[in-house]
Symmetry: C2
């Protein structure tokens, strides 16, 4: 059976491939985007796991939008406006997929940051969107380029990760947030604010959601993968009711609803008195690891390479002088360290690829991070002088 045309456009995920190579226990992997499984708050979930055995009703079919008590809780937890709805998804990745299916026709333009989230490029590729990009600066997207796209290409939406962006780690400034919201309102472009790393801030001041400045012109994707557990596959999409209803309609055909016992487990966790302490401990662990990685990189990276500090999230971004990042990543892997080369974070046809590497700091011990940077620096020095 011949596959659909839409699938033929889809890039295979290099990250999945490198993750597979990196699962070798002799490899230090800075390639994935995995939280440390030692942080999973399973002790806080245990009371609910036991209670589930007494709750046959949550093993039954459920309404598509989600488990009602969880929806009610989330509405308060996120202080949703009256006219907004929530839809629980199988990870925020599904939220993005439903959104793309509900709104994007083949050829419709969308804008995203560049480099940008690979999973979003896959989703927009599947619906055959015309992907426009704006360069990521240290304060967020290039606003001039963004307005140019908005004014000349009438994109349907702007997909962005304003807090600790994947892959660059950039957190948008307050000024950028306000300006982007104003542009979205002015040109009537829906902002899709993806916030999976927002709760992973370990320094600096929390910034308001960008969508706070244009609530009725935005859809927000939130994930529980980084603060609870990714294996549970839970995320939530919120926005004006009229934005969410078509996504519920698509989800009904896509999988009817998301696992109810998992939603019950999440609700128990979010309501647990120990949840705030769990978050604090996790942030502290990730901050220590980040500081080790960043300090080592600053000390050891060869001339011409740069690394920017971050205030949270899971990644740092290393920029490199002109070179082939794929060849570099392959050499690194041969030396036992997995990293992700920058080109995978650009659309296939991009002519703006900057050489670089994405490094994850959440799932390796400090000792492993020290060894990884040492290997990276030595490999880089040899690689760049060839």
């Amino acid at each position: 059976m011949k596959t659909a045309t839409s699938l033929q456009q889809m890039q295979s995920s290099y990250i999945r491939e490198i993750l597979s190579a990196a699962s070798d226990s002799n490899v230090i992997s800075l390639a994935g985007g995995l939280p440390d499984q030692a942080t999973f708050p399973i002790d806080l979930m245990q009371p609910t796991l036991i209670k589930l055995a007494e709750m046959p009703e949550v093993f039954q079919y459920e309404q598509t939008a989600g488990y009602a008590p969880l929806l009610t809780f989330l509405s308060g937890y996120f202080s949703l406006p009256e006219n907004h709805d929530a839809l629980v998804c199988t990870g925020s990745q599904q939220g993005l997929d439903l959104l793309a299916r509900a709104y994007i026709n083949p050829g419709d333009s969308i804008v995203m940051e560049s480099p940008g989230y690979l999973g979003a490029m896959q989703v927009f590729g599947l619906v055959q969107a015309n992907i426009l990009t704006v360069s990521q600066t240290k304060n967020g997207p290039d606003l001039e380029a963004l307005e140019h796209h908005f004014a000349t290409q009438s994109p349907k939406l702007f997909y962005a990760v304003p807090d600790f962006h994947n892959p660059t780690g950039v957190c948008w400034s307050l000024e950028t947030r306000k300006k982007v919201a104003a542009l979205c309102l002015q040109y009537q472009v829906t902002l899709v604010e993806d916030a999976p790393y927002r709760e992973l801030r370990f320094s600096g001041d929390t910034q308001p959601y960008v969508s706070q400045f244009c609530p009725d012109c935005s859809i927000v994707l939130r994930s529980f993968s980084k603060i609870a557990s990714p294996g549970m596959r839970l995320g939530v999409v919120t926005g004006q009711s009229q934005f969410i209803q078509p996504m519920i309609k698509v989800k009904q055909g896509a999988d009817l609803h998301t696992s109810v016992p998992m939603q019950v487990l999440l609700l128990g966790l979010l309501q647990h008195e120990g949840f705030a302490k769990h978050l604090a401990r996790m942030r502290q662990l990730y901050q220590s690891r980040y500081e080790v990685l960043y300090t080592q990189l600053r000390e050891q990276l060869p001339a011409g390479c740069t690394v920017s500090p971050v205030n949270g999230g899971m990644f740092v971004w290393v920029t490199l002088p002109a070179c082939d990042p794929f060849a570099l990543a392959a050499q690194m892997l041969a030396h036992g360290v997995a990293v992700v080369p920058s080109p995978v974070f650009y659309p296939a046809n991009s002519d703006q690829i900057q050489p670089g590497l994405r490094l994850n700091f959440t799932n390796s011990t400090e000792e492993a991070l020290i060894r990884a940077v040492s290997c990276l620096s030595q490999t880089l020095k040899a690689f760049l002088t060839v």
Copy 2:
């Protein structure tokens, strides 16, 4: 934001709407397709629920195809051929959605039984397939019409529910199974065999899967919603590796993977020594309920209405003389009984709609079924003589 063209074709689910009305506790609902929650084998899951608290690794990201120990188990459980793969999905509904997205271009023809599964029509509608239908007879699909479609329309696939079909309850004869497989092989049309009710047989001889007669020309969808729990959202798709791989690629973009703790829970259940006994008890319960419903219908239905016996599944199908089944269902609901009128099981543009009703017998007590038939018969008599 304007919704996508594909969504504008999608019928809203009348069943969802009637289910919502039917959730009123004063209504006896024969409308849904719900298993009885009293049958959920939660006692058999309890040991795994407790063990989960000691398994942080299953709360981590997982490969897209599924939890490896479950995939290995299922491969043996279903005696899959060497060259076949399995993909765990968020319910078999998602398997069908991934299949449609991986293979169907807008305008591609597909064939399904008529009346047929509403969820399949939604999925094929979303990918803008050209839906062709074949009438369901008491032995399965009209073979002459099927061959005519195969020969003249080159459909990409034939979607079918050979065991206890939704909505008619029909179980295909052995002869029909062999003939359909032969036609699929002859015309190189992929058979999509959806088997959610197969394990719910309570009388008669088990028939071989249709795909057993054309294994490399078919994809099989299996659900754990009826034999374990629907709320867990677990199903599995199997077929030749080259058929399954593109679906895995789509699933990677759609939601990365299905909940791992739920997959662990399912594996524990399927391996539990009490699982066979659970199935036997459930079949027995559903048989008693079916027999009450069928006997009462035979005794009380007015002339011109027919009901066919079934050997399993969840539904019986009542055919009616010329009338408006929607108006009848509305009257029934006003009298406190929810049923699904036949037109919702036909494509929107169908000119072959036969008046009828789908009645579910798995989620009502015998006493409620007796009251429901009494109400149905009285309403019908009044309705048909107006």
